[in-house]
């Protein structure tokens, strides 16, 4: 199977959200970067499928030059090759992101053959647009199922499981198909040191698409009110237990 996984570089924010002075982005000077847990699970799911059925996992990101770090991380977790659509640091909206991914898929499939499966996160960690995968599926004319907590492939079909109240809904998609997955579909592996070393020499192809004008245009970011209250300290150590139980009674839970 040929599988493509799409991942997005995002800052690993800590205990609070701090904006840049122009309110256009998070202040990331002191932050590390990562991808969404959904996408980590997407990589793991693709790697497991290829381990079972043979084939190759490609990992694509649209992001700044530094986003090669997230490609390499995914390659350390079992991806075989990277596709880096390099941007300046400006954010792309979902329509533009999808269009760039579609163009890259067309180019890639022209040389390497069709992807049986293109895997997305259910939503990106930062923007949470809930749509890039669906747009890509339409542009390629392929079926798409979202929010998956279970996935298996047999006889040219993907069996897709979604958690719904009280149980699971099952979909059967003919391949080639597009899916988006949720954290919990698997437990991603930790990369070994040799795997990290091998990832450094795996191939990453890069190109630089043009950013079209956004149609969902960010005006500014706002930190929601409520951040920064201060807890009443009930005590230190086990002696505080009595006060805790008093509070539980006050609020009617004990």
């Amino acid at each position: 199977m040929r599988i493509l996984v799409c991942v997005k570089r995002v800052p690993l924010t800590g205990g609070k959200m701090v904006l840049t002075a122009d309110e256009q982005a998070l202040e990331t000077r002191h932050l590390g970067f990562t991808i969404s847990p959904h996408e980590e699970c997407g990589v793991e799911e693709a790697v497991k499928l290829v381990e079972a059925h043979g084939g190759e996992v490609s990992v694509l990101t649209l992001g700044p030059a530094e986003a090669e770090e997230q490609i390499r991380d995914s390659l350390a977790n079992g991806g075989d090759r990277g596709v880096h659509l390099v941007t300046d640091s400006e954010e792309w909206d979902a329509q533009a992101t999808a269009a760039a991914i579609v163009a890259a898929v067309h180019a890639d499939e022209g040389t390497g053959g069709a992807y049986d499966l293109i895997v997305f996160g259910n939503e990106s960690a930062d923007a949470g647009n809930y749509q890039v995968g669906i747009r890509v599926a339409y542009a390629l004319g392929r079926p798409v199922a979202t929010g998956l907590k279970g996935l298996s492939v047999a006889d040219g079909r993907a069996r897709c499981e979604q958690e719904v109240p009280g149980g699971r809904d099952i979909y059967e998609l003919p391949l080639p198909a597009v899916v988006s997955v949720l954290e919990g579909i698997n437990l991603p592996r930790y990369p070994s040191v040799p795997a990290k070393l091998r990832a450094r020499s795996k191939p990453v192809e890069s190109s630089s698409p043009e950013r079209p004008a956004p149609q969902l245009e960010k005006v500014r970011l706002v930190v929601p009110p409520g951040q920064g209250k201060q807890a009443e300290v009930l005590g230190t150590g086990p002696e505080a237990a009595r006060r805790v139980v008093e509070i539980m009674r006050e609020i009617g839970v004990a």
């Binding site: 949470g128 809930y130 749509q131 979202t146 149980g167 919990g184 505080a240 509070i247 004990a254």
Partner: protein, 314 residues
């Protein structure tokens, strides 16, 4: 101009999150029309719906996202609305993303408010950050972020019902639910529990959760955890609270050995009260909590359990 809303329902009674979406749709002005698949859905007039377009079609007996979008698209052609609104649920977001892809239009997911000039405020990072954005198109597609807008009734009569006969292509029905597997519910559901006892890295091991379970048992509580805990394999992902886990809204959330990363808080800020038990008096969780106990949770949690037992037996 008309506004069109997608209403999800359970056997004819509208979902709370769809009623919230109707409130957001009303803020856009204009006569409100709704689409429901299956039905009939009752009581929508009280939420401002003038006309309910009802699809009753065997082909849609099972959920099919592209077909739902096709129904919306048909109504868009018919009514020429200024906006299409749905709830920010799995299906609401999915149906609108399909519609957006079919029309190549922008789509703003999880909106909490609309401005006069085509601007919206929407949530990012699972609610830890807000974005003001401009939707650059005549037809605005958006979903309402759950529990951020209140459902509101108006003095309206019953909505007029118009059957909609959907024109569906084969492609619209390729992806549909072919099977539903029931899973028996086990214990108190995390999402609905009145009290949640939650543990993070500070709990130290899978075994360490034994003392949290004991406390939870006395409080009729569900046990939750942070992502560090699920990644370590100490608890299943179904216990994870946060942006990529479950969102909880209990009366009391007890965070034991959890630092309070924004992605964790995104899942528990709906709690009425938060009690943090942490050895670090500077941990970020303290600026999101109502109460705190500073110290080693391995001593504090059993002490609370013992105190509670005493109180409950007296």
């Amino acid at each position: 101009m008309t506004v069109l809303a997608l209403v999800e329902h359970d056997g004819g009674s509208p979902d709370e999150l769809s009623l919230q979406a109707l409130a957001l749709a009303r803020d856009l002005g204009g006569p409100l029309h709704a689409l429901a698949v299956g039905g009939p859905v009752t009581g929508l007039g009280a939420y401002g719906v003038e006309t309910l377009h009802l699809v009753e079609d065997d082909r849609l007996a099972a959920y099919a996202p592209a077909a739902w979008a096709a129904c919306l698209e048909q109504l868009v052609d018919q009514l020429q609305p200024s906006a299409v609104v749905a709830a920010g649920t799995n299906r609401g977001n999915e149906a609108l993303a399909h519609l957006a892809a079919r029309r190549d239009l922008p789509f703003a997911a999880n909106v909490i408010g609309v401005g006069g000039d085509g601007t919206v405020t929407r949530v990012r990072w699972g609610g830890s950050l807000l974005e003001e954005a401009r939707i650059d198109s005549d037809l605005k597609l958006l979903t309402a972020a759950p529990h951020m807008v209140e459902a509101a009734t108006v003095n309206g009569g019953e909505a007029a019902v118009q059957p909609l006969d959907p024109e569906l292509s084969d492609a619209d029905l390729v992806v549909r639910v072919v099977e539903h597997a029931e899973t028996p519910s086990a214990g108190i559901s995390l999402a609905e529990a009145k009290v949640v006892v939650s543990g993070g890295r500070g709990v130290g091991s899978a075994d360490g959760f034994g003392m949290l379970e004991e406390l939870a048992g006395l409080l009729n509580a569900a046990v939750g955890c942070s992502r560090v805990v699920t990644m370590a394999g100490w608890r299943p992902h179904t216990d994870q609270v946060g942006q990529t886990g479950t969102k909880v809204a209990p009366d009391l959330y007890i965070a034991c050995g959890i630092s309070g990363a924004t992605q964790h808080i995104a899942g528990c800020k709906g709690a009425k009260k938060i009690l943090a038990i942490n050895s670090d008096a500077e941990a970020p969780i303290l600026s999101n909590a109502d109460y705190a106990v500073i110290g080693d949770l391995a001593e504090i949690v059993p002490a609370i359990t013992a105190e509670l037992r005493k109180a409950q037996s007296s």
